[in-house]
């Protein structure tokens, strides 16, 4: 465990390869959890106040754009489903595809991409700036462990907020899709919701929530790994910020596929 606790101290050293980064990321994750669990016993508690602050930034502040995106996704799915099912006269079953794909796929994925672009980049940039300004060194010499102070709150906040955003996206997408479908088919909105609820199993919801949590942790780790291995001044900050967004979106998509594969076997 000692190695994990001191993980962040390896910060000055560049992690060159992908596997180095994965190793560093896992160490950071272990250290974050460690500080979360036993920090208070070592006089280094992870502050609830800081977790809330991050949750506010990551989740609450993203609500308007999250609503807009998921609402549009709901409309898009409704349009596509009516078109494709209309090819063989099965429009009435549009709710099945919409309910399942929203809960299992679109909500977690779209919210993760949104958060990676919005918050992952901000976290990477912030950490990179702090590293370059020696603020991380300053924490270290004060005896404030940088992992518990900077990383743990971010990991927790992302792991908690992304599922919340995904749940919200479920509601909004279902609403807009139902609105469109019922208008197009001249049926009732209530019937659409009812039908959707009968087809949706708790397992489907959990599938989406589980993925969202995983994506949240991934975004946090990719941002922290990139931010803390920055080199070369302001230009370096820009570079790791971009890199962090690209890497997390790639990892989200791959993890999504793997998760779907494993969870449906």
């Amino acid at each position: 465990m000692n190695a994990a606790v001191r993980g962040f101290e390896a910060i000055g050293r560049r992690s060159a390869g992908f596997f180095d980064q994965v190793g560093y990321g896992s160490t950071l994750l272990a250290a974050s959890i460690y500080w979360l669990l036993v920090g208070w016993r070592r006089r280094q508690p992870v502050r609830i106040r800081m977790i809330f602050h991050e949750m506010q930034q990551i989740g609450v502040a993203a609500l308007p754009i999250a609503t807009l995106l998921s609402g549009t996704i709901g409309l898009m799915l409704a349009i596509q489903s009516l078109y494709s099912l209309g090819l063989f006269g099965a429009e009435a079953y549009a709710y099945i595809g919409i309910a399942l794909s929203v809960a299992r796929e679109f909500s977690p994925l779209i919210m993760a991409i949104l958060v990676a672009g919005r918050s992952g980049s901000a976290i990477a940039a912030r950490l990179a700036t702090m590293t370059i300004n020696q603020e991380v060194d300053a924490l270290q010499v004060m005896g404030i462990n940088p992992v518990r102070y900077l990383v743990s709150p971010v990991v927790v906040a992302l792991a908690l907020m992304l599922p919340c955003l995904a749940m919200w996206a479920n509601l909004v997408s279902e609403f807009t899709a139902g609105f469109y479908v019922s208008a197009a088919l001249n049926s009732s909105f209530g019937a659409f919701v009812n039908d959707s609820l009968t087809v949706l199993k708790t397992g489907d919801i959990w599938h989406g929530i589980g993925k969202a949590t995983l994506f949240g942790v991934l975004i946090a780790l990719v941002a922290v790994v990139n931010g803390s291995t920055v080199s070369g001044g302001a230009e370096g900050v820009g570079k790791v910020t971009t890199l962090s967004v690209v890497q997390s979106i790639c990892m989200i998509v791959v993890a999504d596929m793997l998760f779907a594969y494993i969870a449906t076997r």
Binding site: V5, R43, Q44, D137, A138
Partner: protein, 294 residues
């Protein structure tokens, strides 16, 4: 600590700081009789294949101001980073207050870190917090003090470095000298036994830089701490140091009291002193005086 205690301490500090610095430099024997607060033992360090520090042996005595002086790139910052535990010694040993940082348990290490304060070359203030929040951060994260007490202690330290009234500003709004002083305030907020300063006078105009020298001298008196200053500023070093360590391309050339460094017959030490004088274009009389160590 209660508020009343803090306030009493505040008055004590301010009284001590108002008084002009009168202390004489301790004699060699006086100095050597004091306990060691920093010990460096056969420290080597390389960045990859490039060796930056060669067999560094050094000690700092209680209450001493030790200036580590050397040209740019001579390894001063690297040495300082070893002293404060940011770089683990590869071969060699660093002891602070008689404790070897490498072999301490986490809780002991934390206790030790509370007893040292570090001000970085560029301040390293947290840019997302006000100056006062910066100064309060160690208190907030490492003690159980109430908000009121923390305010008092932070204001006290800001007053010590002559920044009272600037606590509400963000670091970006401060001038270079103010950033240095704010970072010193943060470094001393836990009342450390040992203070490390990296290039306190670099990038400052002579007047501000000289005021900072006075501040360092007064801090030592008021707070009874030992100070390690890294600097390439010869004037400043001569003014504040009890002893000077001359670092040249990673080698220690001399560790001597100020007069001995001034009069050093070591060619490289003289080169270092002179090169700086030429660069600064001081008037010839002053230059000659410095050369002859008058």
């Amino acid at each position: 600590m209660t508020s009343a205690e803090s306030q009493r301490e505040a008055l004590h500090h301010i009284a001590a700081l108002r008084a002009e610095s009168t202390a004489q430099r301790p004699t060699e024997t006086e100095l050597m009789a004091r306990p060691k607060v920093v010990e460096v033992d056969h420290l080597d360090f390389s960045f990859g294949s490039r060796q930056v520090l060669y067999d560094i042996n050094l000690d700092v005595r209680a209450g001493e101001i030790m200036v580590i002086m050397g040209g740019s790139g001579s390894g001063k910052t690297t040495l300082l980073r070893h002293l404060v535990g940011l770089m683990p010694p590869q071969p060699g040993k660093v002891k602070l207050l008689n404790k070897d940082m490498g072999s301490l348990k986490p809780n002991e290490l934390l206790d030790l870190k509370r007893k040292i304060g570090v001000a970085f070359q560029f301040g390293a203030l947290f840019s997302s917090m006000t100056v006062a929040e910066n100064v309060k951060l160690p208190l907030r994260e490492l003690t159980d003090l109430g908000e009121k007490t923390m305010d008092i202690m932070a204001n006290l330290k800001l007053e010590v470095v002559n920044l009272s009234g600037f606590g509400g500003l963000m670091p970006a709004a401060l001038s270079g000298g103010m950033v240095k002083r704010a970072s010193i305030a943060r470094a001393i907020v836990m009342d450390p036994k040992l203070l490390f300063l990296d290039e306190p006078s670099s990038g400052l105009d002579p007047v501000v830089s000289s005021a900072l020298d006075d501040l360092i001298l007064k801090l030592r008196e008021a707070m009874d701490i030992s100070v390690v200053v890294v600097s390439h500023d010869i004037d400043s070093a001569f003014k504040i140091a009890d002893r000077i360590t001359v670092l040249d391309q990673g080698h220690i050339l001399a560790i001597e009291r100020v007069e001995a460094i001034r009069n050093s017959t070591n060619e490289r030490v003289q080169n270092l002193l002179n090169r700086r004088s030429v660069e600064a274009e001081v008037d010839p009389a002053e230059y000659l005086r410095r050369l002859t160590g008058d």
